[in-house]
Symmetry: C2
Subunit: 191 residues, 2 copies
């Protein structure tokens, strides 16, 4: 039997490739219109049975991870790269390559996308199972452009913890070193 | 004759709806696999003729806006909401509603997505035609959760200009007030 979670994950993989093709295609207008019409048919079939609102608002009792819809790490979310978060030796890190969908200046990752990735990776230093941390403040310093289509690494660690506040620092790097550095305060709401 | 830019734009509109359906569908696995296979066929047709790398790296001599591939405002980029940037009376603003694809905590916009939107809107205070500004630093303060599927407004203005540096401030609001505030320094590289 097919595992439902991974089938959904494969659909998201297909849609990520479609996003890239949508940005880069140079087919003539009639062929583009045909593709859009076919996509609309698929969309209406998929949405004939769907959860209300958004992924995170539903009970997750079917084995799917609770973060499957997340904008940064969600395996079911085609907008997410998605990041895989690793932890060990006091460090949180993720390795990634960002394509055409994440572009800001020509050939470079959008500064806002760098912020999004770092927000998540710094925040992950404070996450505990069943007890997420929320961003309090986040400061980013951009050293130079972050290249598209090249291997990148985002990493973060805890500087200190004061009560419900985790002070985290981190950076985004390419093979030549740091492109963006960050520091942030992440908060566990009192339960 | 169909205008090529708007045909591409309509394709991106269709793919945005597909992204939402991909996250929220509850169809059974076989139907999901069929949809993925059909999407792969469309993707391979679209990518049979495509620009190399990313949108921003190509010459734009066909009437398409140079930012059509942009991760935040790109009308051809299904990942972009896309934001429409308005300017007037010393203010830059954009009105938006963010759906399931932008989720972080259940029912709320991902903190990193808020950062991405504010980076772009604050940066837009410094943009000049043909002379983009790059983010130097960006600091975000999160006041409370930013709701999904509700009308939001991002706005920014220039605090002061010092040489090549524009100091901008701004905020993201919903109908109850500010959810995230921001300040940033945006730099025009010397030409």
């Amino acid at each position: 039997m097919t595992d439902p979670s991974s089938t959904y994950e494969l659909l998201a993989v297909s849609v990520r490739k479609l996003i890239d093709a949508t940005i880069r295609t140079e087919l003539e207008p009639n062929a583009i219109s045909d593709a859009a019409a076919q996509i609309d048919v698929i969309t209406s079939r998929l949405s004939a049975e769907q959860m209300p609102g958004s992924f995170g608002e539903r009970p997750s009792t079917d084995g799917q991870g609770p973060a499957s819809g997340n904008a940064v790490i969600g395996v079911r979310n085609p907008l997410a790269p998605p990041l895989t978060i690793h932890q060990g030796n006091g460090l949180v890190w993720s390795e990634l390559v960002l394509g055409a969908a994440y572009e800001g200046p020509a050939g470079y990752v959008h500064g806002g996308v760098c912020a999004m990735v770092l927000d998540h990776v710094l925040g992950a230093t404070a996450h505990k199972p069943g007890r997420p941390a929320y961003t309090g403040t986040l400061t980013l310093r951009y050293h130079r452009g972050t290249p598209l289509l090249k291997p990148l690494r985002a990493e973060a660690w805890v500087d200190r913890v004061e009560g419900v506040k985790t002070f985290a620092v981190g950076r985004l790097t390419d093979s030549d070193g740091v492109t963006v550095s960050a520091e942030g305060v992440f908060i566990h709401p009192r339960q």
